[in-house]
Amino acid sequence: MAYPSMGEAHRRITDYLNKFCDAVSYQDVASLAQLFSFSSNSPSLLSLADALNFFQDANRLIKQSDKFSQFGEILAPLFRSLQSYRLGNLVEAYHAFEKFANAFIQEFRNWESAWALEALYAIAYEIRVLAERADRELSSNGKSPEKLKGAGSFLMKVFGVLAGKGPKRVGALYVTCQLFKIYFKLGTVHLCRSVIRSIETARIFDFEEFPRRDKVTYMYYTGRLEVFNENFPAADHKLSYALTHCNPLREANIRMILKYLIPVKLSLGILPKTCLLEKYNLLEYNDVVKALKRGDLRLLRHALQEHEDQFLRSGVYLVLEKLELQVYQRLVKKIYFIQKQKDPSKAHQLKLEVIVKALKWLEMDMDLDEVECIMTILIYKNLVKGYFAHKSKVVVLSKQDPFPKLNGKPVNS
């Protein structure tokens, strides 16, 4: 890295300062946001960081003119943050950036219009990313990572600034989404509730007026929350909304949505096409879907075991595990069809022994009692219509629609 000359460093810093002041005075939010986007690693910012590290006394430049010094509170920590960022000292960079962000929020409060929202978005994003990286640095040093938490509380403050009435409210959802990201990462999902409440109960501002990308993100995260709560219809609604509004070119985003939407849909008895799974590289669900189609309990268990870590991490493991009952249903249904082919008159009388045999063929070692129990639950959950003759160990299926389809309704409804 060639070091810039003193004059060059001076020029770069002044240039940056001028850009900042011009952006503020002309309310040129795009260029303003650019000035904050560390993570973009734009060459101008990198060279500025080098210049700052070389020049060292940037504060003097800020104080030199009134034009700059009025933003001294904002710029000084920003420079410090940039310096540390460039040097790879992310914890320091985060600290300085939070100071800068606080100062910027103060200034932002005083601006009547919401012109600087984009810059605020950039800050909210940068502070989150920076906090994550700082946490990584901290934990690699054996210290407790807490910067992301700090970023969360800072963003909560930003949310407070935006959540009121007025033109700035449009920005609230972006901050909310950043908060979601932090909370999901930290595992403090319960903190989302207050934010959600203030978004969803606000009558003054229609949800549809928020920017689309924010709406999609928001729906994605709230949909995930519903998955946690096993509230599948609501999760289906939210995730479907996210899917339909998501930019179709953003395949990564669509994949993320599908990752949760597919298990939800499976729980509702709706199976995806294989091509969908292939297109978005969600093959881990392939076996699950196959198992559901075939009534192959062994395949389901195998699939769950194979991707256990993945499913546990994404939080869909329990959802997929609950598909087991549907697999049983499918299996019984298949047996029923086979019996029907053999002897249509007695097809609705299903002997448990047959089911046990079928399971044994699937290498599922279950005895009569267990199968009886499972059948009882299937009837209880309305996956099978009929009754159970305990003494003769026979399930008597209803002649009318013995295996009702879920059709978008969750099991046990």
């Binding site: 546990l312 267990e370 499972i374």
Partner: protein, 912 residues
């Protein structure tokens, strides 16, 4: 100016004395304002209380006395007033404006005082405003009254009433009946004194702050102040904190006894106290509200005293200068007040006592100040100007003292002329400080006075002296004699406050039982007075609290502990006190000499020695080192505590009035209960014995006190050094939730705990017994901060026992502890408990996120564990609703999984 005018008018209406009183009042106002800041509400309340107390004392002759005090500035009329004025004041108060005006005329003649008054008034205006604000609730009226020349008294009375009504009620019969406190003609006087005192205190404070800018400077110069200024400041702060305590304590303790004692002592001390009080008040004002409080009172009293002595110019002049300069006027006042007004001074002392109760320290100071003044006055009198400086210096010293009564006494020492007296005063003050400090101070003052000008003879009846000597003669050792002194101080203060000091047949008076070295007896003997004295002693909030606390705690250890705690709490204060005390100590030595000369040499010596000891002790406390604190629990403190306790317990009421006062006091105590509770809490912690214990408590106290602005940081505490190392060798121990710091003698060391665990595990007794034993083991482990394999074993054992009987709350406690212990890397049956944890989560199911997180947290290694696998299988069975599998798993459950599964069944599966 209006204020002044009003003040003067009011004063005039009352009498010259009244004028002074008003001044005092004004000053008080100012002070009150200051006070309010410092102690705010509580102080105000305390003031009121004081007033009440004063009233009672004054009720008879007190009104006069109080007036005198207040009116000290009016010294010219003083003597007259003192004699008849006081009484007349009560009556005259009814007269209202007319009286006041005439008096005023006289007052004007006092021009000297007038000048001072003008100062005072000017100051008062300012103070006034401040005053009103502060006292607003109760004082608002008084303020108005002040402004209204004629009315002023009523307001004052109202003030008094507000504050001291409880006390007054009892008194009311005598004094209050004549008129309402508020309206009162008679009231005014009594109330005035009280008010004035209180007001003065407040005013003074203001003075110091405002007018005294000069003053403060002077004081600072003279005082070098350092002590005074800084101390006082600290004090004020402390005071604020303590204000509540003070108020409560004061109220309860002081009202009755103080009044009594005040009367008696006031007679003796008043002069000194007043003068000193003035000076002290100034200092206090300089220092801050608390000190100011006491000073104000004193000043008033002193002023009144001075007026008595030199009713005319000297007093007034002294007053003026006093107010303006504090010191100079004091000197003047001092001379005049000293001899003539001793009785009055006593009254003022009574009021002081009240103040002292509020601010024990202040009160002591006042006495001291008064003494010095008195002495100085005689001596300085001639060289007033010089004396002024000396006075200033004294004041300065007084100011320092202000914070603590003892300190105050020291301050007097600081005064050159007064020094001798001052020391005496100081010594006296100190005794008073302790609990009887006021009385003592009065006695000492008397003695000092005697030394100076045989004022004592005038002040105290001979019979009383002989009585004291008789009592002392019974004492076998120093401790006893010291206790005796305290008791006698209390008695005398009571008598003074009652106004019976001169009327009582001291020769026929039964001697109080000689106090035991333990102080309990002493306390008993002195009970009534001690109580009041103690309340007065409250001077320092800590002490007060102690005294109150002490009653609850009978154990000397506990007391010590509490003392330590207090010391720790007040460490900041203590230092100030110590400073003051140190001077006092020096002075006390000087005093001792003087005392010897004095009629009550023994008493004085004893007191001096005590004071010295106390000083030393306090210093130690100030050091705040744990060890010091342990030592710090000085005998005197214990004694005080004990005396307070006993005094409260024992009713020595010699007269119906006393009884009433006691009742009032007890009521007040009830109010104070809350504070006590807090202090008790501390005591409880102290329950343990030993240095460790003391250290711990101090640490605790320190940590608590930090919040109050203590200098020390919690981080500075070496917790390792404070960790208990058990010495108990018994294997079996019942669990008792600790309410205090652990006592090493009841804590088992690790080896014993290991045996205890074995014993419990092999025990055939029921779960309740095991749980109890295990809890005590856990407690001992926690107390000794043992966290190792043994800890894990104990928790695991307990968790298993709990699971066996389905005691889930207890199990959860253990589980959460185990989680932490495992996380610390301590080996144990980690897997077993991971399985339990899983089963628990399943049981409390419906929380998928918890289940997911605990499942995802399981390591691959854990998943291979039989118990964990079983738990996972159970989970799967539950989620799929496979009861059959569930019950099969139940049958094959390893460890205690089946116990939890039973729970799972009853909670989870039953819904299916």
């Amino acid at each position: 100016m209006m204020n002044q005018a009003t003040n003067t008018q009011t004063l005039a209406s009352v009498d010259p004395n009244a004028v002074e009183n008003r001044y005092v009042v004004n000053a008080n106002q100012g002070q009150t304002s200051l006070y309010v800041p410092s102690t705010t509400g509580s102080e105000a309340a305390s003031w009121n209380m004081y007033r009440v107390e004063n009233h009672p004392a004054e009720s008879g002759s007190f009104s006069n006395s109080t007036y005198h005090h207040v009116q000290h500035s009016e010294p010219s009329s003083r003597t007259v007033q003192d004699g008849s004025n006081a009484t007349s004041l009560a009556t005259s108060s009814s007269l209202g404006a007319a009286n006041t005006q005439p008096d005023y005329g006289g007052y004007t003649s006092y021009s000297n005082s007038a000048g001072t008054y003008s100062h005072g008034s000017a100051g008062y205006q300012g103070y006034y405003s401040g005053y009103q604000q502060q006292p607003n609730p109760s004082y608002s009226q008084p303020v108005g009254a002040y402004q209204n020349t004629g009315a002023p008294y009523q307001p004052i009375s109202s003030f008094q009433n507000t504050g001291s009504y409880a006390g007054p009620t009892s008194y009311s019969s005598t004094y209050y009946n004549p008129g309402d406190y508020q309206t009162a003609g008679g009231y005014p006087s009594s109330s005035y004194t009280h008010q004035t005192t209180t007001w003065n205190g407040s005013n003074y404070a203001n003075y110091t702050t405002q007018q005294y800018s000069n003053y403060t400077q002077d004081s600072s110069g003279a005082y070098a102040a350092g002590n005074a200024g800084a101390n006082s400041l600290h004090y004020q702060q402390h005071y604020k904190q303590w204000a509540d305590y003070y108020n409560q304590t004061e109220v309860s303790c002081a009202p009755g006894t103080e009044n009594l004692s005040v009367v008696s002592t006031s007679t003796q001390l008043p002069q000194v106290s007043q003068v000193p009080g003035v000076s002290g008040g100034y200092p206090t004002s300089n220092s801050q509200a608390p000190t100011t409080f006491a000073p104000p009172w004193r000043p008033e009293s002193s002023s009144s005293q001075t007026p008595l002595l030199q009713p005319g110019a000297t007093v007034t002049g002294a007053y003026d200068s006093y107010r303006t300069h504090g010191a100079p006027s004091f000197q003047n006042q001092h001379p005049s007040p000293v001899q003539p007004h001793f009785v009055k001074p006593l009254e003022s002392k009574s009021s002081y006592g009240n103040f002292q109760e509020q601010q024990k320290t202040a009160c002591p100071q006042l006495p001291n100040l008064q003494y010095p003044v008195a002495q100085q006055a005689p001596q300085n009198y001639q060289p007033p100007t010089q004396t002024v400086q000396s006075l200033e210096t004294q004041r300065v010293s007084k100011l320092q003292i202000q914070t603590n009564p003892r300190i105050a006494s020291n301050l007097p020492l600081g005064l050159p002329k007064l020094d001798k007296e001052g020391p005496n005063n100081n010594a006296i003050a100190k005794p008073a400080y302790i609990s009887v400090s006021l009385p003592k101070s009065s006695e000492k003052v008397l003695s000092n006075d005697a030394a100076d000008t045989v004022l004592k003879a005038g002040v105290f009846p001979k019979s009383l002296k002989s009585y004291v000597q008789r009592a002392l003669a019974l004492c076998k050792d120093e401790k006893q004699s010291a206790a005796c002194q305290e008791i006698m101080k209390e008695i005398i203060t009571k008598a003074t406050s009652d106004g019976t000091i001169h009327t009582r047949d001291w020769d026929a008076e039964p001697l109080f039982p000689i106090p035991n070295t333990d102080m309990t007896d002493k306390n008993n003997s002195q009970n009534p007075t001690p109580v009041s004295l103690f309340s007065k002693y409250k001077k320092s909030p800590t002490r007060r609290t102690k005294s109150r606390w002490e009653p609850l705690e009978e154990k000397s250890v506990d007391k010590l502990g509490s003392l330590n705690n207090y010391a720790a709490k007040y460490s900041s204060r203590v230092p100030l006190d110590e400073k003051d005390r140190k001077p006092i100590g020096a002075s006390s030595e000087g005093k001792t000499d003087v005392m010897k000369k004095i009629r009550f040499p023994q008493m004085e010596q004893k007191s001096a020695s005590k004071t010295i000891q106390r000083q030393a002790k306090r210093q130690r406390l100030a050091d705040a080192s744990a060890a010091d604190n342990g030592d710090a629990s000085s005998d005197s403190d214990k004694e005080q505590n004990l005396t307070a306790y006993y005094s409260g317990a024992i009713a020595l009421a010699n007269t119906p009035e006393e009884r009433k006062r006691r009742e009032n006091r007890s009521k007040r105590f009830e109010k104070v209960q809350g504070n006590r509770a807090e202090s008790n809490h501390f005591k409880a912690k102290n329950a343990g014995t030993g240095n460790l214990y003391a250290r711990r408590t101090t640490a605790l106290v320190l940590s608590k006190s930090f919040e109050d602005g203590g200098n020390r940081a919690v981080e500075d505490i070496d917790w390792d050094a404070l960790t208990v190392r058990g010495t108990c060798q018994e294997i079996e121990k019942r669990y008792l939730r600790l309410t205090s710091a652990p006592d090493p003698s009841t804590v088992r060391p690790e080896e014993v705990l290991e045996k205890a665990l074995l014993m419990v595990q092999n025990s055939q007794k029921n779960y309740l017994y095991k749980c109890d034993q295990l809890k005590s083991i856990r407690q001992d482990l926690t107390v000794q901060r043992i966290r190792n394999h043994l800890t894990v074993k104990v928790y695991e054992a307990h968790a298993r026992f709990a699971l066996e009987v389905g005691d889930l709350p207890e199990y959860n406690q253990c589980q959460s502890q185990l989680k932490i212990l495992y996380a610390e890397g301590i080996k144990g049956c980690h897997m077993e408990f991971a399985a339990y944890n899983l089963l628990c989560v399943i049981m409390h199911s419906n929380n998928n996120r918890d289940l997911l997180s605990s499942m995802s947290r399981l390591s691959a290694e854990a998943k291979k564990d039989q118990a964990v696998q079983h738990a996972l299988a159970v989970r799967a069975a539950v989620t799929s609703g496979n009861y059959v599998l569930f019950f099969r798993l139940y049958k094959t459950a390893p460890n205690l999984n089946s116990c939890l599964m039973g729970k799972v069944y009853s909670t989870g599966l039953s819904q299916c």
